[in-house]
Symmetry: C2
DNA sequence: CGCATTCTGGACAGCATTGTCAATAACAAG
DNA sequence: CTTGTTATTGACAATGCTGTCCAGAATGCG
């Protein structure tokens, strides 16, 4: 009953996500967004409402998909520990471009801190899901004898989350894949021995 | 032989550091800087040259002092391992405000990535010094039997750096001190057992 | 005291950015 | 085809930001 949108909302959001991922929030102008999304100014405001809304929506999508991927990978492994290892190794063995790009979630925390409620809530939700996934994987790994029995799965899952954060930052800072692997190896020696 | 500056350059730089630390680079305007530093616009440009130069100088100062503090703490401990532990615990037990503030070095990496040569160089220099300090501490800890002999000090030092990065981000994201301590504990169990 | 030199404060140009407005275009239902 | 509704386009106002300029003020040296 009215003129349909000439662009795909999801595709446009994906383009916006790319720009924010590459440049951060403050360094991205609405024009940067418009050009990357291939839409007019008014379309952007009508469809998404605001630069900040675009960001929040892109961040939510990023977090959801990232965590989904990890959760799937954790379920898919040949064994609980192997699955965890593959998740961690993925960050160490990513391509140079991926490593340089870093993690949008981490950047969001750095740029906004926990003072921004909306951003913090998205981060907390992602962290909670990740925590659950790691915790069950660790519990199974303990049961399977792949991990030292003295390890508390809850604390271990927190540790894995921190480990991933550290690896992501290190990677973005330019640490070599070999050194990233070394970090992961030390961490896993500590979980098993 | 000429009019002296009416402000202390170091104090002003410290104020600028505070602002950048709190808000990041892009979100900080030159007016934000001027007001915090308590100086006029022209004084800022004459004394420091540029918003970017102020940032780089503040970042360098931050990195140097932070690493200095860690190095001193590592030398001061009653034993190598206890010293390392106290360094790590410091991040977990910091005040709520300190935790929310996070690490300027990490924020710099997130905001600029490794593409910005000047920023990356500062980060690399700090990382190298930290690596040395942790590595010697670990070597001594291994020799003293405080750490499992299978631990490679080089890899272990890399691991400790990543651990700190992960803790800093987690802290800024709002993770509770108890959870931060749990992470540290898991890490240290892995180093000793 | 006079002078050279440097700092300070206010003003300003140029540009970027954000969000809105109004006119036009495209579509679907009646 | 007409009409109501929504998308698109280009323009625009308001504001903020950066870096510079200039006139005036302060200081130490001769």
């Amino acid at each position: 009953m009215a003129r349909p949108r000439a662009f795909d909302r999801d595709v446009a959001l994906g383009a916006a996500l790319d720009v924010f991922w590459r440049n951060g929030y403050e360094a991205t102008s609405t024009d940067d967004l418009r050009y990357a999304m291939g839409i007019g100014r008014q379309s952007l405001y009508d469809t998404f409402g605001d630069k900040r809304r675009v960001y929040l929506e892109a961040l939510e999508r990023y977090q959801t998909r990232s965590v989904d991927a990890v959760v799937a990978q954790l379920r898919a492994g040949p064994s609980p520990l192997a699955a965890i290892r593959s998740v961690v190794s993925a960050y160490a063995s990513a391509s140079a471009e991926e490593r340089a790009l870093g993690c949008l979630g981490v950047s969001a925390i750095c740029e906004f801190g926990s003072a921004d409620k909306a951003v913090a809530a998205l981060g907390a939700a992602a962290a909670a899901r990740l925590q659950d996934a790691f915790e069950t994987a660790l519990r199974e790994a303990v049961r399977a004898g792949e991990v030292r029995p003295s390890l508390d799965p809850h604390a271990g899952a927190l540790f894995l989350q921190s480990l991933l954060l550290g690896l992501k930052i290190s990677a973005k800072a330019g640490t070599s894949p070999q050194n990233l692997r070394d970090v992961a190896n030390v961490a896993f020696e500590g979980l098993t021995s």
